[in-house]
Subunit: 149 residues, 2 copies
């Protein structure tokens, strides 16, 4: 799975005259191998945990390259940190987030997509991208009492 994607990444690097470094490859691998929505710090820590020698700066820089070239998706749920997820099969989707435990579920709605397009048309905007996040309480969190520490 990563092999095909790694080729895409290598193509991007070549096209942009960027060098193929072990650090960049490891960051890409780390992102592709997880289905989580992680912050740069989490990706950095995961890399250190598996003994990849890399600095925070390089993780941040690489995530930016990946994002700029549509190899990862990123989201901001309002806490001032970017969360990244791989974008292997380019499934456009939006997010449903539990405000208590942080669990993130992905959803797609062609109907919403269509209405969004209509809204943009109505106001004479050319739609480029969108952010759609639903915040709520998941089943488990509705059941369990709030823990007070």
């Amino acid at each position: 799975m990563i092999d095909i994607e790694l080729k895409k990444f290598k193509r991007v690097l070549k096209d942009e005259n960027l060098k193929l470094t072990p650090q960049r490859v490891e960051v890409f691998r780390e992102v592709c191998d997880s289905d989580e929505h992680r912050e740069a710090e989490g990706i950095y820590l995961a890399l250190r945990k598996r003994d990849v020698n890399i600095s925070r700066a390089t993780v941040y820089r690489t995530m930016d390259i990946l994002y700029q070239h549509d190899l990862v998706q990123r989201m901001d749920i309002g806490d001032g940190k970017w969360r990244y997820e791989h974008w292997l099969d380019c499934h456009q989707h939006d997010h449903l987030i539990c405000i208590r435990c942080g669990t993130i579920v992905e959803f797609i709605s062609p109907q919403i997509e269509e209405i969004q397009q209509n809204v943009a048309d109505k106001f004479n905007y050319k739609l480029v991208r969108h952010v759609h996040q639903l915040f709520g309480l998941c089943k488990q969190c509705r059941k369990s009492p709030v823990s007070v520490n």
Copy 2:
């Protein structure tokens, strides 16, 4: 217009055992008197411009009180800054944002609201709030060439 709202604010302060200070009133007035989507810094500067003696800290603190009590709405368009707007008539709405000039248009779609609810139900989440932002190019920006500085 602000009179009725000011009463609401005073009620909140009283209910929360918070004091009615000139600074708090001025911040609330400043927010109510504009239809812009401004950052705390912008609100602070506007207050200073009309010779209100206030500190940044107090502006931030007051915006937080207003937000926590649903007297203002706030949004984050991904640049790490909260933008505030008054919430006088509590019109629930979402935003369409021009990625070049920053113009923000408000829109409402009962259809989308309904689908959102269905999505939350499907995943067994109790919907609490949502963020829905459409990013695109407005009419003017599509026409005018990009200025390079």
